[in-house]
Subunit: 152 residues, 2 copies
């Protein structure tokens, strides 16, 4: 979070995304949620985060529509935290971060967790392409800006 001008009015979708999930903990919680964690205690153990902070972050993520709560079966009933569709759609972001980290932040022989297809066990990769299927790199693209309303 940090006090900083909100980017929610920015016309750049990346900036708005960062405004919503660009803080330290949110994406780590989302990562754990993708990893199958649902319970308060699981998140806390995994992240080593203070309980009050975790509660705050979880509430924020719920407020933003990225997680939703559901009462558990047992008794006493607790809440469990599940990714919404909006949250699950952060999957490509996580994969992109993972792919980049694998490439640049690990020694070649260093142990790392891996993301695999459940059925085939194959590695997961990510491709940036045009609607009609051509692979593109950053230099093949251009940002079409929204014209400034008032003046040049």
């Amino acid at each position: 979070m940090v006090k900083r001008k909100s980017l929610i009015a920015d016309t750049c979708p990346s900036a708005r995304s960062l405004d919503v999930i660009g803080d330290w903990w949110s994406l780590l919680i989302v990562r754990d949620a993708f990893d199958g964690l649902t319970r308060f205690g699981e998140f806390q153990k995994s992240l080593g985060i203070a309980k009050n902070i975790l509660a705050l972050r979880l509430r924020t993520l719920v407020d933003r529509g990225i997680l939703e709560t559901r009462p558990t079966e047992g008794t006493p009933s607790r809440e469990e935290y599940l990714l919404t569709e909006m949250g699950r759609d952060l999957f490509p972001v996580m994969v992109a971060l993972r792919q980049w980290g694998e490439r640049y932040l690990f020694e070649p022989d260093e142990k790392r967790s891996r993301l695999l297809a459940r059925d085939s066990g194959r590695r997961i990769i990510l491709e940036v392409k045009t609607e009609d299927g051509k692979l593109v790199g950053s230099s093949d693209t251009v940002i079409e800006k929204v014209p400034d309303d008032a003046n040049p």
Copy 2:
């Protein structure tokens, strides 16, 4: 940044990535760099960030290998900040953030900047798939954990 246990030893590549570029400003600077900005003043104007903070962030990004400096032509010669290959490889992350933001953080008719292929003008999309080309969603995947060294 914020004081928090470093994740640089985490075995999850996503976590390490977040450790390196997961703070507020870094990805916004990188976004601007993809957008073609290279000069200190350009970043400052675009981001509305304090100069000392910008200088700090730029230095950190250079230290981490995401940006590199190069003296400019004119006189007096200044530095300009360019993405390294490591930095350019953050492109999928930016595209993923953008795609998610477009979908969930804009009203249908709301103005937004767009990312287009330079030559064809087509929209850019992102696909998560297996090595052999099958599209996958988050529920089709599984994390293969690194076994804990010491004990269960």
